[in-house]
């Protein structure tokens, strides 16, 4: 089920009412309702893939129980490998089988040998990359004794399939989310209203900003070979806005929905386009995935401790794996590879200073230097993101060739559903509100809260109406494909 659908508009209030009024007396029944609702939510897309999720749930629950009953290091290690093998096999088969097969046969033909191999028509189950990582983190944490395994199967199933964040994250850690399933939840007016505000902002970013940018982007990328450089630059810019609006919008809807049920999910995007370098950008972009890779891959490999070589090697490993996580295509691997280089450049020849707080911490406007740094970071990000959007390496390289040509200074040829001037105004409006709210969890967290109620409500109503009037042609959530 998609968030931006009538189905979800009916589903969410129904589950909300059942949750707080019909099942609120018993935690187990309330959790069971969430599990059933989550399976309905997921099965709305394709019920057959529920079996995969159930399989992953049973495996990791059993591994957790097994780990709690065993003190033998070798047995514990074997159990951990069962979880890793089961989850990565699912992911490997559904996501990477064809990619590796094609790359393998391609490599052979490059050296003159020809081998026959049949690819399979495999449908990628929505959200598989998200929930397998979530369940994996549980088994790893239990193995490392950082987390007590749960014996409550329903609570564990709820942790794996919780519908707000099931198909595109945020990827929650068991230590953060699982206890929320085990402890009785109470309704909070502040949390629920804040959740609704965050959802509203998420819908605006997805339906108005991302989907309208998407119409331009699709046209430009599909015809990149016939576009002039300035149009290609506009395409790269709009895609950067699209991917942010799409994914951060999804995360906002997910986090906001979860708040309605008394859950607190982690912030997934902390206004990344206001970052002063790529290092900061990666601390603010898709935070739950970045942290996952940091904790379960980068640190176990040695992190940044040890020699320079170890740091370089580990940075390349996590970014290439992160690229591969996003998609089984060389474009994603190149995207990850380039980001590794950029990050290492920041470490070794750029400013070594780490930016922890938000930009312009004590003032409303950024300084000229901050403005320049943000612009530079966005520009670099935008260029690398071309690999993220391109369907093949040849398209990505062709795009760059067209972009950096003499036609870069010609008038752009922009074709989309909405007038470009209006889209630009909406983008400015969106990022202005994000700038104002950059010190909070989401743009509407504190914005307008001090206004008189009628004016505040008029603002929210206007935002809904703007979203209706200017809704773009629906584009699938980009991160569903991962």
């Amino acid at each position: 089920m998609k968030f931006n659908s009538i189905d979800f508009a009916l589903f969410l209030p129904l589950v909300f009412l059942l949750y707080w009024f019909a099942t609120n007396r018993k935690l187990k029944v309330q959790n069971l309702l969430l599990v059933v609702a989550s399976y309905v939510f997921y099965g709305w897309w394709d019920w057959r893939f529920l079996l995969l999720m159930a399989f992953s749930t049973i495996v990791d629950y059993s591994v957790g129980i097994g780990l709690s009953n065993s003190s033998s290091p070798s047995k514990r290690k074997a159990l951990l490998w069962v979880s890793i093998f089961a989850n990565l096999s699912l992911l490997g088969f559904f996501k990477y089988y064809n990619f590796f097969l094609e790359s393998f046969t391609g490599a052979f033909s490059f050296f003159g040998a020809s081998i026959q191999a049949n690819t399979l028509e495999i449908v990628l189950p929505v959200g598989i990359s998200f929930y397998t990582f979530q369940t994996l983190s549980y088994s790893i944490d239990v193995y490392k004794r950082k987390l007590e395994p749960t014996k409550d199967f329903i609570a564990f199933a709820g942790f794996v399939c919780f519908f707000p964040q099931l198909v595109a994250g945020p990827i929650e850690r068991a230590k953060d989310l699982l206890p929320q399933f085990i402890k009785k939840r109470t309704f909070s007016y502040q949390h629920a209203t804040d959740g609704l505000r965050q959802m509203l902002w998420g819908f605006f970013k997805k339906m108005v900003i991302a989907d309208n940018c998407g119409e331009y982007v699709n046209h430009i990328f599909a015809n990149y070979s016939e576009m002039n450089g300035s149009t290609l630059a506009a395409g790269a810019f709009l895609f950067s806005i699209q991917v942010y609006g799409d994914f951060s919008g999804y995360s906002d809807i997910a986090i906001g929905s979860a708040r309605l049920f008394g859950f607190k999910l982690k912030q997934n995007f902390a206004f990344p386009y206001f970052s002063r370098n790529i290092d900061e950008m990666w601390n603010r972009w898709h935070i739950s995935l970045t942290n996952w890779f940091r904790d379960y891959l980068y640190f176990p490999l040695g992190g940044s401790r040890g020699s320079t070589w170890v740091r370089v090697r580990n940075t390349f490993i996590i970014f290439i794996v992160s690229g591969l996580w996003h998609g089984a295509n060389w474009t994603f691997i190149s995207w990850g590879f380039l980001h590794a280089i950029l990050l290492l450049l920041v470490f070794f020849i750029g400013q070594k200073q780490r930016y922890e707080g938000v930009v312009a911490q004590d003032s409303f406007f950024p300084s000229v230097k901050e403005f320049f740094l943000m612009g530079r970071t966005f520009l670099v990000w935008m260029l690398v993101t071309i690999f993220f959007r391109a369907e093949s390496m040849s398209q990505a390289l062709g795009y760059f060739k067209g972009l950096f040509s003499t036609t870069l200074f010609q008038k752009p040829q922009l074709e989309g559903g909405m007038e470009f001037k209006i889209l630009l105004l909406l983008i400015i409006f969106c990022f202005s509100l994000e700038w104002i709210g950059r010190k909070t969890q989401h743009a509407l967290e504190s914005f307008a809260l001090n206004w008189p109620r009628v004016i505040r409500w008029a603002f929210y109503a206007a935002l809904v109406i703007i979203s209706m009037i200017f809704v773009g042609q629906e584009q699938q959530f980009i991160y569903f494909q991962f």
Binding site: I6, F187, Y189, E226, M227, E415, W457, A462, I465, V471
Partner: protein
């Protein structure tokens, strides 16, 4: 919880008032789109066309009723973007037959993109232009009821198509302006719904003939890219289509290669106002020569 639910209900009521005001304002001040005018003509005919033009944007943008009409012959261009044979069949049987006086001649386009995702129009998406009874009927009986409901009630896309009407707009036709060079278009994936669309096309032709109207099929000029020309599916589909239509005994006018000059095109698929003038005149000459409509 009580406070939350009360606030929520109050907000929804508050929102509905603002929504109604916005809806009222948008209806009053909204620029009329050409499609809105077309549906007004369909459901409340004033032109009562003798020659009705059905089909996609290729015709909407290229056939000028002013050139085709005569003192005793009225012409209306009902062409609409992304119309597939399936769409036109549903539109014809659900609305045109019910509301519009029978024309004497129907001009219909056939083109390669009717087998692609480009022909995506559904009758539900124009629900806000229909009489209330038709809207209710459609919403109750259509599997696509959500779209029908949303498009009528949720102000969706009200701001689009505002700049379509020009001083050259006439009886459903509005031409594209002249541009420096034809605009680039995204080409769709050729899909495999050929058989379905062909069936709808045949059924549509039969229905029109049942209603005692003559049918003329038109293949419009376009600047096809080499890669599309080379597509097996394209070639196979067009040939199979023409072969199938031979049995239907309808007049097919093939203008595919009538115009090749870039200067006559707005984009790779649509003529501009100059090209439209030329093709409309050519059509009139052919209709005079090959049909009895002007007699």
């Amino acid at each position: 919880m009580k406070k939350f639910l009360l606030d929520l209900v109050l907000f929804i009521l508050f929102f509905l008032i603002i929504f109604k005001v916005a809806d009222f304002y948008s209806q009053k001040h909204e620029c009329k789109s050409l499609n809105e005018i077309k549906f007004a003509e369909l459901f409340d005919p004033s032109i009562k066309a003798d020659i009705a033009i059905f089909g996609s944007s290729k015709l909407k943008r290229a056939l000028d009723p002013k050139i085709l009409e005569e003192d005793n012959i009225s012409v209306y261009n009902f062409g609409i973007e992304a119309a597939s044979p399936e769409y036109t069949y549903n539109w014809y049987t659900n609305f045109f037959r019910e509301y519009y006086p029978k024309p004497r001649l129907v001009i219909l386009d056939i083109n390669w993109s009717m087998f692609t995702e480009f022909s995506f129009r559904k009758i539900e998406q124009d629900s806000r232009f229909y009489p209330l009874s038709e809207f209710i009927n459609l919403t109750i009986h259509s599997s696509n009821w959500k779209e029908s409901l949303l498009k009528r009630t949720a102000l969706l896309n009200r701001a689009k198509d505002c700049n379509e009407l020009t001083e050259l707009t006439y009886n459903g036709y509005t031409p594209y302006p002249k541009t420096e060079k034809p605009k680039v278009l995204s080409y769709p994936e050729l899909s495999d719904n050929f058989d379905t669309q062909l069936e709808f096309l045949k059924k549509l032709i039969h229905k029109i003939k049942e209603d005692n109207a003559e049918v003329v099929l038109l293949i419009m000029p376009e600047l096809l890219r080499e890669e599309i020309k080379k597509e097996d599916v394209f070639d196979k589909n067009m040939k199979a289509l023409l072969r199938n239509l031979e049995k239907e005994k309808v007049l097919i006018l093939d203008y595919q290669n009538l115009i090749e000059a870039d200067t006559m095109f707005y984009d790779l698929e649509h003529l501009n106002m100059e090209g439209a003038k030329m093709v409309s005149q050519k059509l009139k000459d052919d209709l005079l020569r090959l049909t009895y409509i002007y007699n």
